[in-house]
Subunit: 390 residues, 2 copies
């Protein structure tokens, strides 16, 4: 029987706990839970997952966050040695983490350090992401629910703005995505009519100048009377020199470019503008959980459980899709060092050039139950009188 | 047959269009739609609602925003005279608006000015609000869906923070509510365990000093390792002199106190803190629509349609609740000048002193389907070893 430690790392998603549940359901071994991500691993903060705790964890289906605790923690050589000591004390033979890019790199390094010191430790990665920048997989759990939240919020907030356009003209919606525009681009999924938002999307893959940005906004407001704009948090806007990315509290917590841009719009165009940071709800809104995302999160966990039983090592579970007419996903494996070496996956050129191709790819993940809104009631041919401005 | 003009005014809600649909369903008269709120009224921007448009409008059930357009517009005597001219040209005998405090005052003044110039115009108000500050009604449609969004977001965002507390300690969630704390207080509806957010709520009804605020946060973080705090946008925090409320783009668009407070927490306590403005999703998220709110929005509209048929005037439809065990609402009427004179209703003292009394009042409006989250998996008595900090 395998002795396994499993942890959750990085920023949580709405379906991160579901992957843990899938893992536990598939595995008939002795399992320790690592509390609070890699920091807990280094500190030896592990608990045995007995039957009672399995039951507790099963209540976290459809609960956002990370029921074991997660977090961001940078490991160096010394902390890796400490972590390996803690694992060795508990006679762990397999270490599993649910995480993103940083997590896969950390697992790969832990595996290498373990080999160097003669500790036969298997490592397995379970993918999770909100911004979909993970390499060597079609996509990863967590992203689809976040994309659903972004698409719905943009549709709703734009419809609200359209009704208020005599009072307020521009809303700049800011999504997660430090280096990749997957989430920001998802905002256009439910756009059907020209009046529907978003009217413009700006992503980190394409640097924009302040002049172009302002010209775009002016044009949209000229045509429609209002403009709903979506930007990634990691967008760079150049005005003479680079506009620096926002820092919060002196730390490089991203988020805030929308407020900078709203100020710019007001100063340069005299339009009332508001920044709308979609914030932590993007990764934690229970309401926006995609059923497909939920199912895939469970299955990547389950697959990892099977891989432990099969004594695999040094792999991440990946997701692929069938080439057929209707969407079907399958779990697969990929060498973990390839994921680590792959770095952050940006939105491919083909999707930037043809957003409809992207939306076709995205729709089955986010859910086909979502509908665009009807256009507003407008003056038409049957109305004899024009409004009189007195 | 009555000749009626109906418009939507102020900030939209998620169920504002439903009241319009209820109104049209109940009325067998000739109806004109006023586009873009009171500005459209003054400009004579009205369209005849024929069968085709009734069908179009019926598609806006469960669609946020205002399908006729709304907006904020301050009317003076001259604009009232212009509005009355436009209505008289169309031989309108009844003017109906769906709106909040400002709308009811405007209707009352229009009625008075019409009387002064010998124009026999009936006025009827249909209530809507997100921040529940409307007088002479138990509550008003739009609030319950917004409260649902706030309660769910606080539950979800706090659970996410709890998992990340080693990285980030404080989130300050900002709700709508310029003068009243109804929405901010609703954030506590799904709190069950001590670890559940919100850990502190600050509302405009109770001015707080920066010193007390910081002491509160320090205490919660000391006990739990993190703190989820909810503040109303209209909160005043005193530090030596008053901290001024945030202005956006030089205009007094409220929203931003959370970021000021997050900076204060970082500077004074050295904790990583983030402001989370819940933003326009509060009033426009389709996902968060409360079924009860939806039903009541329809019924206040329907009631107004009946009142037009009965040739009533100078009243607003109000909502009352039965005194019995289970929640039942009934529509009623109240003189519109009483609503206008009543001003903005703040959260009553009894609800501030005993939040559970408030939650009992709130639960049937927001929906009893909502559940608190289970507490996180923690080290317990069965775990022999404590974590080792090396």
């Amino acid at each position: 029987m395998r002795r396994v430690a499993i942890g959750q790392a990085g920023g949580p998603t709405a379906v991160l706990n579901t992957s843990l549940i899938g893992f536990l359901d598939a595995l008939d071994g002795e399992v320790f839970g690592v509390l609070n991500g890699f920091q807990g691993l280094v500190d030896g903060d592990m608990i045995f997952i007995d039957e009672n705790r399995r039951k507790q964890i099963s209540q976290f289906n459809y609960v956002p966050g990370a029921c074991l605790g997660a977090g961001r923690y940078q490991m160096d050589y010394d902390s890796r040695i400490n972590a390996l000591k803690r694992l060795h004390e508990k006679r762990i033979d397999t270490l599993v983490f649910i995480g993103g890019n940083g997590t896969m790199t950390a697992l790969h390094q832990l595996h290498q350090t373990a080999s160097d010191i003669g500790y036969d430790l298997s490592v397995i990665g379970i993918p999770k992401t909100v911004d979909n920048d993970l390499a060597e997989t079609d996509h990863a759990p967590g992203f689809a629910s976040a994309a659903r939240y972004v698409a719905l919020s943009t549709r709703d907030i734009s419809k609200d703005l359209e009704a208020m356009r005599n009072f307020e003209q521009v809303r700049i919606i800011e999504t997660m995505g430090r280096n990749a525009g997957w989430l920001a681009a998802a905002s256009g999924l439910l756009k059907k009519n020209d009046t529907d938002g978003p009217h413009k999307i700006y992503i980190p893959e394409k640097i924009v100048s302040a002049e172009t940005f302002l010209k775009d906004i002016k044009k949209v407001v000229g045509e429609l009377g209002f403009a709903t704009v979506v930007v990634s948090e990691g967008l760079s806007v150049h005005k003479n020199s680079t506009v620096e990315k926002a820092t919060v509290n002196g730390r490089k917590v991203l988020g805030g470019i929308s407020n900078h841009l709203a100020e710019l719009v007001y100063e340069e165009l005299g339009l009332t503008a508001r920044g709308e940071l979609l914030g932590m709800n993007q990764r934690s809104s229970q309401l926006a959980i995609s059923e497909q995302d939920q199912a895939e999160a469970y299955d990547v966990g389950k697959k990892a459980g099977n891989l432990v039983e099969e004594e695999c090592s040094n792999v991440m579970v990946s997701l692929g899709r069938s080439g057929g007419e209707s969407y079907e996903f399958r779990t697969n494996t990929v060498p973990i060092e390839k994921v680590s070496a792959g770095g952050e996956q940006r939105l491919p050129r083909k999707y930037i050039d043809d957003p409809h191709l992207y939306y076709e790819w995205l729709k089955p993940l986010v859910g086909s139950d979502l509908k665009p809104f009807p256009p507003m009631i407008k003056r038409g041919a049957i109305d004899e009188n024009k409004p009189i401005r007195s």
